[in-house]
């Protein structure tokens, strides 16, 4: 077992490498997200729903895109051999991949989260009570992206990753139904005030815990691997 300390400079280089290859795609997603927010901000119910669906689609796609492009394709395109021929340990590789994916994902995610809050707060037709619901939904998409990344990293398999994507999307549909029908949430989401009910807080904590557990589990499973090519 390698117990050597991790090389933070090496990890930074690997993160920047992934950012270099994904930066243009992220800007496209950001533009699509901005369009979604513009639709949400526009008056009209149809425009609101179209914008909401586009926003959710953009964020789900960012997560899928990142895991596929930075992990699955690196394996498929055999650039993983190039990376692993460098003075990099498996632990550093895993850390760099998780950091790169989280940071790159957070770039459009945070922008769109803040943008969503701003649109809801500024548009009188949209109830401010939607803000906790929006935070819960967008954090679920973040957690789902971490799940897809974890499966991609551990399995290094396109098929398993696709399975995780399907599971994540099905779970999201059920989650939306479940959350929107929770009495604590349903009673306040259409109200004029932002209410962080115990149910909302519990859901946010559960989502953050799931993200932390997934990251921890990924490191643990990666540390047990004996073959990296």
């Amino acid at each position: 077992m390698n117990t050597a300390p991790m090389d933070s400079k090496m990890i930074r280089r690997l993160v920047l490498k992934d950012w270099y290859f994904q930066r243009k795609a992220m800007l496209v997603y950001l533009a699509a997200g901005a369009l979604a927010l513009a639709l949400v901000a526009n008056s009209g119910e149809g425009s609101f729903f179209a914008g909401s669906i586009l926003l959710i689609t953009v964020l789900i796609t960012v997560g899928i895109h990142l895991a596929m492009a930075t992990v699955v394709e690196e394996r498929k395109d055999q650039t993983l051999a190039f990376v692993m021929s460098l003075p990099v340990s498996a632990k550093e590789y895993t850390t760099a991949k998780i950091l790169a994916n989280l940071l790159i994902f957070l770039f459009p995610w945070l922008a769109l989260l803040v943008g969503s809050f701003a649109v809801i707060a500024s548009r009188t037709a949209l109830p401010d009570g939607l803000i906790p619901f929006t935070a819960i939904v967008l954090l679920e998409i973040f957690a789902s992206s971490v799940l897809i990344l974890s499966v991609a990293l551990v399995s290094e398999s396109q098929n398993w990753t696709i399975g995780a994507i399907v599971f994540g999307n099905l779970f999201f549909q059920g989650f939306l139904y479940f959350v929107s029908h929770l009495p604590d949430i349903a009673q306040t989401m259409n109200g004029p005030r932002i209410v962080w009910s115990p149910a909302a807080i519990n859901l946010l904590v559960a989502e953050l815990t799931a993200i932390a557990l997934l990251v921890g589990l990924t490191f643990w499973l990666q540390s047990r691997k004996t073959d990296f090519l």
């Binding site: 077992m1 390698n2 050597a4 090389d7 090496m10 280089r13 490498k17 270099y20 290859f21 395109d77 055999q78 650039t79 051999a81 190039f82 692993m84 021929s85 460098l86 003075p87 990099v88 340990s89 550093e92 004996t226 073959d227 990296f228 090519l229």
Partner: protein
Amino acid sequence: MTDLAVHFAGVGKTYPHFTLEEIDLELVVGSIMGFIGANGAGKSTTLRILMGLVHQDRGNVRVLGHSMPGSQVAAKRDIGFVSEDLRLYKAATLAWHMAFVRSIYPEWDAAYALDLARRFDLKPEQKIKGLSHGQRVKAALLLALARRPRLLVLDEPTTGLDPVARHEVLGALTEVLADEHRTVLFSSHNTLDVEQISDQITFIDRGRIIDSDDKESFLDRWRRVRLEVPTNVTLPAVPGTVDSTRSGRLAIVTTNRFEPRLTAAYQAAGATVFAVEPMTLEEIFVADVRSRREGKAA
């Protein structure tokens, strides 16, 4: 004590359908070893264990004084690795790759990198996706060589290349290796490629190392002896005979321990020696593998 760049002692790895058997391998600093085996013989597994990318189930591996896989990061600072299944990022230019590798290796020699680009006929500003397979291999070689590694590990770098590209890559590699004092481990299933640049040869088959020696000794001790043998004469059993075929009065004996006394022994038995033929490395490899598989090796 001899300085060893690579030392495998009793190394094994078991997969469901393949086992790398107790591998013992020594590569002396400054030598160029050709690692020859058929497809699926265990070459890539051995080299991946050497790089720390696959962990051995048993045995010890030391590379440039570092224990593997535990100290792989330290070892890989001094290893240049080019593999048939190693690819560069298609969307990036060679110049991007050069800058990326330079940022990792303080020993990166920028002038040498540009010299290699010129010698390999590569344009740094060109994207990898626009390069031919041969050019991509040369680009990977450039990235490995310009960091001035103490050990160069080449895993089937010429596989999949068309004859012209293969010739170009080998020519470039030979030229580069000729003016440098490097330790190189070069695996291939193509003996002609290995023969050109190696001074040590190791054969691997079905997960076992079956022979290892310096190239000249291999070529010196393997011979094919053509004989005329009267029908009432039986050829004496001579140590080192790996194959003996007889058709009527004609016999062909393949030996891996040729010396003049061998022909004298056959002549003393009543046979006439027509010819003692040197063998190519490919012929030696095939004869060695076949005899080991048939359990005839002396």
